[in-house]
Subunit: 160 residues, 2 copies
């Protein structure tokens, strides 16, 4: 039911959430950014049930966010790695972490810092920028239709 409604939404936010919208899914991607590759390591580090993890990982492989390969070694463990599509989620995961640091973990301070290796300094807050590099806020923006707009989007966001 929820899925049916979503498929009728062409908006890329809605369609992206179909792929990575569930809690566990994005936390699995976060773990992969931290370097986790083996099923058993995802399981231990996330404290997630085997069947849920297995289902989510399969969905991520199916959607093209991760690849699964069999590694050598005891029990031929499955290795999960991010594809380019998956690695492209990095700004979203870091932005979510920064938002949580700022608004939810404010009193305790950030549990984790993402550091630029070369400088040893934390990465900048993820921001919205215009072509000239200016940082943009909501009031600086408007919404226009793109080439993939359907009739209802066109009616709603008529170009000004």
């Amino acid at each position: 039911m929820r899925n049916t409604t979503f498929r009728t939404q062409v908006c890329s936010v809605a369609r992206a959430l179909e792929v990575i919208g569930e809690w566990w899914t994005l936390l699995i991607v976060r773990e992969a950014f931290f370097g986790t590759e083996r099923f058993s390591d995802f399981e231990d580090r996330l404290g997630i049930a085997k069947n849920v993890l297995s289902e989510r990982l399969s969905k991520l492989v199916q959607s093209g966010v991760m690849t699964r390969t069999a590694a050598n070694g005891r029990g031929n463990p499955q290795i999960y790695r991010l594809t380019e599509m998956g690695r492209d989620l990095l700004p979203i995961v870091v932005a979510l972490m920064q938002w949580g640091d700022k608004w939810i973990n404010r009193e305790t301070g950030a549990p984790i810092r993402v550091i630029e290796r070369k400088t040893g300094r934390p990465v900048c807050p993820v921001e919205l920028r215009g072509e000239g590099g200016t940082s943009l806020r909501l009031e600086d923006l408007r919404v226009a239709t793109g080439p993939g707009a359907n009739v209802s989007i066109r009616q709603r966001f008529r170009d000004e």
Copy 2:
């Protein structure tokens, strides 16, 4: 059960997802960015069941992402607006939209474009940047512990 596990995770991604991790929640925030304020408009534009919408909006108000005020007019409609905490989700929603445009709606093209009013040009792809302004990829980064790290995070991400 899912919630219990999450509360033990201090990571800000996990805690941010507790607030905005559900599909509908982030789509409600997207709608608010588009200017939607009234309960009935959220209902129409999202195609969401009244009880689900009502529950999600209350959760967003409770968490501090939105405010609810009664407006004048027929039936004293409830008006929902983003707080500063909510407006701070803008880069995340736009980054998610751009990711969906690039990886999911690729053939049809972007349904919606986010435009800088002043220049009339689309906003830049949301990126991770270092202090000098360099665009950063996964291999440019390492993870370090922050002030809010607990024992298990400290053991895992020992500063190098």
